[in-house]
């Protein structure tokens, strides 16, 4: 009886000690992750890769893909998506999105972008400090904004907003501060190439 009690005692007190012993050890895990299958919108050619040629996808505007840009992650919201390899080793993420009506207005959308990189909302009179109006080859004006989070310089956005009667068109490039600086020229080239039918 005494021995069986003693064994039971040892078993019970060993349980929490076993838990303690197996938790803090350094560990290495190895596993495989399937490469994400391409979404159907990509397979259908929603994001064309015809560099240097006018891309016409049936939308009320066309554009030209700058050299070096590669097809990027597609989604139902994106009309076009590209990744931009940069000399720093990173890649920029470019998206072209159209929203109906005023889509909340230009300021609200700029502040939405600012929020995405951790910046506080800007007032309308401050917008000129980080943006300027630009004119496309077609003669269309658009707002070009450069948003950089100085406290977190790996988060920056180049944005362009085209105001049309029935929609707003947003071009956006996400990268680091150095990345957007490097990609600015090709981003402007893309925006300049947008041609409204």
């Amino acid at each position: 009886m005494k021995i069986s009690r003693f064994i039971l005692f040892l078993l019970l007190i060993m349980l929490p000690l076993c838990f303690g012993g197996c938790s803090e050890e350094p560990s290495i895990q190895k596993y495989k992750v399937s490469k994400t299958p391409l979404p159907s919108s990509y397979e259908s050619g929603l994001t064309p890769n015809s560099k240097g040629e006018v891309v016409d996808t049936g939308l009320p505007f066309t554009w030209v893909v700058p050299a070096g840009w590669e097809p990027g992650k597609a989604s139902s919201m994106r009309l076009a998506s590209y990744i931009i390899p940069l000399s720093t080793g990173e890649t920029g993420d470019f998206s072209l999105v159209r929203l109906g009506g005023a889509a909340g207005g230009v300021l609200a959308n700029i502040n939405r972008w600012r929020g995405q990189i951790g910046l506080a909302d800007a007032e309308i009179e401050e917008v000129a400090e980080f943006s300027h109006m630009h004119t496309t080859a077609q003669g269309k004006q658009f707002l070009h904004a450069t948003l950089i989070n100085e406290a977190n310089p790996d988060r920056a956005i180049l944005g362009a907003i085209f105001e049309e009667a029935e929609f707003l068109l947003f071009a956006k490039l996400n990268a680091s501060a150095a990345g957007v600086e490097e990609a600015n020229e090709s981003f402007e080239a893309f925006c300049n190439s947008i041609n409204f039918k």
Binding site: F9, L12, I28, K32, S75, R78, D93, P153
Partner: protein, 376 residues
């Protein structure tokens, strides 16, 4: 028994631990810890308070922390049950109640060591089979060269410390950790460093800063020395927990990605978000209700489930709660809170056992009460 008590030192300790006063004082000490932990939570945040008072062996240097206190309490109950509880019919209720309490504490240990919590953001229309720990980090080396998969080697947080060397036969380079920052600030260099510095380290200096009370808001970074790369790219690199684009490396003719990221837990199944819905309070941007229609994908088997704010999905040892959502120009993303707890049933079972024990104890007292009342 008395002979053994006088001879064996172990039994002497066991009998000392079986003293009911041990339970009394440890219970009081737990209340003290609870009070201090709750108050300190305001100053150091929930996570650090939990770590300091309840998940630690010692607090304030020499005083017993929550883990030690509960271990002593557990030992007390074990010793009491085995060495100091005569097995008699009249004590059956007490014995059952003690067993229930022991099971509750065992469940606590089980949960403390084997449960995980994290978040699982999934963009609408996409599938995910992992969730990310809220606090714990990992260092991942990902071989991107295979056509159909990425081969991941993930090193636990213990490796991410100054002087640690990260290497594995699965990749041909060696990484030495120079400095680790649990919360960092990036300072742009006036002129980029070119001699032996690469990527983020080339353009940014990293400095440490005070930990945030909300632990999830801390942004970790690490400075590394990497040797064995192609094209004379050996040198100093830096990784940030929230790098927009991960650091890529070339070695042995293969492409690798290295990441400092929240620890990822692979699920034995996947969740595919079919549709995310939210309702707003009229005239505001505040969500009154949101839900995610998901497919639980297990091999070829698919099961459609609606996860809403008060209706979590339970599958195997995992529970998925609708926690948050995000909307940007890439679309809607649902954020699920994931809890993996193999011991989640312990408290229920222990409570039932304790209730049965107490009820039994009360019933067994009835004849005694009747006798006493007759005597009176």
């Amino acid at each position: 028994m008395s002979a053994a008590r006088s001879k064996s030192p172990l039994l002497k300790v066991a009998h000392f631990l079986a003293n009911p006063e041990v339970f009394f004082y440890t219970a009081i000490w737990l209340i003290v810890l609870l009070v201090f932990g709750t108050v300190d939570q305001k100053y150091i945040g929930l996570h650090l308070s939990q770590e300091k008072y309840f998940s630690s062996w010692f607090v304030w240097g020499i005083f017993p922390g929550g883990r030690l206190t509960m271990t002593v309490m557990f030992l007390n109950l074990v010793c009491k049950l085995i060495f100091n509880s005569p097995i008699r019919w009249s004590r059956a209720g007490t014995l059952v109640t003690h067993s229930g309490m022991l099971l509750l504490l065992l469940g606590g240990f089980f949960t403390a060591y084997f449960s995980n919590e994290g978040s699982m953001p999934i963009p609408e229309g996409q599938t995910s089979s992992y969730y990310m720990d809220y606090h714990e980090l990992e260092f991942a080396v990902i071989d991107k060269s295979p056509e159909d998969h990425d081969a991941v080697v993930a090193f636990s947080q213990n490796y991410i410390k100054e002087g640690s060397v990260i290497s594995d036969p699965d990749f041909p380079f060696t990484i030495s950790v120079k400095t680790f920052y649990r919360n960092r600030v990036l300072v742009q260099r006036d002129t980029p460093l070119t001699d032996g510095y690469h990527g983020l380290a080339q353009r940014f200096d990293i400095k440490t800063q005070k930990l945030e009370n909300e632990f999830e808001r801390n942004r970790a970074a690490v400075v590394l020395d990497i040797r064995g790369l192609d094209d004379e790219k050996d040198g100093t690199y830096a990784l940030d927990q929230f790098m927009l684009v991960p650091q890529t490396l070339k070695a042995g003719g293969k492409d690798y990605v290295i990441e400092l990221r929240n620890k990822r837990y692979q699920l034995p199944f996947a969740l595919e978000v079919i549709d995310f819905k939210r309702k707003l309070h009229p005239g505001t941007q505040m969500a009154s209700h949101y839900s995610s229609l998901v497919n639980v994908v297990d091999g070829e088997y698919k099961r459609e489930v609606l996860i809403s704010m008060n209706e979590p999905l339970r599958n195997l040892d995992y529970t998925f709660y609708q926690a948050s959502f995000g909307i940007d120009d890439t679309g809607e993303t649902t954020v699920l809170a994931v809890v993996q707890n193999a011991g989640r049933n312990f408290p229920y079972i222990a409570s039932v056992i304790m209730c049965i024990g107490l009820l039994f104890h009360l019933i067994l007292q009835v004849p005694k009460m009747v006798v006493r009342s007759k005597r009176a």
